[in-house]
């Protein structure tokens, strides 16, 4: 059985969950077995509706002791639940929380793990999972040698495939260990789309000359419903908050659309964004290396192009 771990925060299922459900269901079909989901804590979402993504059963541990993320506690509970449910393959999102617990769960289960998976495994001979390595500059195909397998799927690499269906819900009774950490505060950046979950991203670099010029980037992002990002020099100069930095030493993202404004495209920056499906580069320098990695390019003054692009999108939306 393929067991898909569903991450929640503040009683809400994370967006990344729907993609891992679709992936887990497709893998189960390939292996000729069932796909089930595992949820820790109470959620406001309709769990039976997760059947839409191909799981037949949702297992829930609705205990106050697992309402909030605690890596050590979650590891023990998920490993115990996986054993009790008889899971042979576990799927996690390669998200912040997934990265924290999937390798630990693999250790507890004596399972081999591949994190950062980018496609369904090849299972005709062995169990070979392809993952991104060298910050997206290459892929490695890795054979998992153990009977139980754990996969953490790169976000935005498989897609979400809703169909018809409902899942049964089964409450699981698992011993909950004492908390290992005490969460004292949670601050969410209000009104913004988390970068790692965003399917559209507008990003800008030193070409914008100063933090006072970000208004047009924010306007474009708002028009598109996109998240904003920036290059490392911009975050190092404190023009923009650190959590917006994408690149080799910042966030690695894979949105459907990445619009880069005034970013030259140094190899370290490309490493953070080269898994994006479509890349648009706006730069006044026709020699900017980013154009080589782009799908669409506009050569010219960002201060004229970005507002014009914003107008064009508004016009297109009004016409649609």
């Amino acid at each position: 059985m393929v067991l898909v771990y569903i991450d929640q925060a503040e009683k809400q299922i994370k967006k990344s969950a729907f993609e891992v459900l679709s992936y887990g269901a497709a893998l189960a079909k390939q292996l000729g077995c069932a796909a089930e989901a595992l949820v820790l804590g109470n959620v406001n979402d309709d769990l039976a509706a997760l059947g839409k993504y191909g799981v037949t059963k949702v297992r829930q541990i609705a205990n106050e002791g697992v309402q909030h993320f605690d890596a050590k506690v979650y590891t023990q509970v998920i490993a115990a639940a996986a054993q009790k449910a008889g899971a042979t393959v576990l799927i996690f999102a390669h998200s912040i929380n997934g990265k924290a617990i999937a390798p630990a769960v693999a250790v507890k289960l004596g399972a081999g793990i591949v994190t950062g998976a980018s496609a369904l495994p090849k299972t005709d001979a062995g169990f070979i999972v392809t993952k991104t390595v060298f910050s997206g500059k290459a892929f490695a195909s890795i054979q998992i040698e153990t009977p139980i397998k754990v996969i953490a799927l790169n976000q935005n690499s498989f897609g979400v495939f809703p169909q018809d269906g409902t899942a049964s819900i089964e409450a699981m009774d698992i011993d909950i260990p004492n908390p290992s950490i005490k969460i004292t505060s949670t601050e969410l950046v209000k009104g913004e789309i988390p970068l790692t979950e965003a399917s559209l991203v507008v990003s800008a670099g030193r070409g914008l000359k100063g933090p006072e010029n970000w208004g047009m980037i924010e306007t474009l992002a708002k028009t598109l419903g996109a998240a904003t990002a920036c290059s490392r020099p911009v975050s190092d100069s404190d023009w923009r908050p650190h959590h917006e930095h994408v690149g080799q030493t910042g966030l690695q993202i894979a949105p459907n659309l990445y619009i880069a404004v005034g970013i030259s495209g140094a190899i370290q920056h490309l490493a953070g964004v080269n898994r994006s499906k479509t890349i648009v580069v706006i730069n006044k320098d026709p020699e900017a290396p980013f154009f080589k990695a782009a799908d669409y390019g506009v050569i010219g003054d960002a201060f004229e192009i970005v507002p014009a692009l914003n107008e064009a999108i508004l016009k297109s939306k009004a016409g649609a």
């Binding site: 060298f134 659309l257 990695a293």
Partner: protein, 247 residues
Amino acid sequence: MKVLVCISKTPDTTAKIAFTEGNTKFDENGVQWIINPYDEWYSLVRAIELKEQDPATIIHLVTVGEADSEPIIRKALALGGDEAIRVNLNSNDSFVIASQIATIAKEGAYDLIFTGKETIDYNSSCIGSMLSAILDMPFVSSANHFELAGNTATIKREIEGGEETCELNLPAVISCQKGMAEQRIPNMRGIMAARTKPLKIVEPTTVKATTTIKSFELPAAKTGVKLVEANNMDELVRLLKEEAKVI
């Protein structure tokens, strides 16, 4: 307090990525090696800052690698740290590496174990998480702030769309990222001192690998950029809608 800082050797961020032996091995030809940036800039420097606050702090560095890892571990010692341990093993299986570090961690009875949030070569983000499971310690990942008062650590970590603050009692494993500390450059005094700091070489324990790398592949090259005139943003919007189908 005893801190163990995990150090990994990675290719420089600008290294050309290529493969040899029928795409089964990373081509090390002409590659410059560096300390994995997350290990160096964030976990090692934060450990050094903790020692500057409390000089009784002992910092040990550990790396799992063969003799060619020594320049990296010496460079790390030049930044700071009291001594280093090199487990004499070349492996790319996260569980094998984490098991070697766990053996060192158990013997040294460390209060705090720092790792980088990931290495920039395999990007697996496995070592910290696995160490916490093997050692049965609390784990906080992607930490960008770490303060210590007595035995209690206050840690900020990144979450999707924000930040979370938590407290825990040591011992613990922490994976570090940007924000933890400011990057430093080794000075001459540090480089000289590093030459005489102890570097212990230990032989690995036998651990069965759970994974095998079968092959590598480079992504298909982009077919070429399609240029759109700066005064024709309607065309760009049309392409994004109708051709790329992303908006």
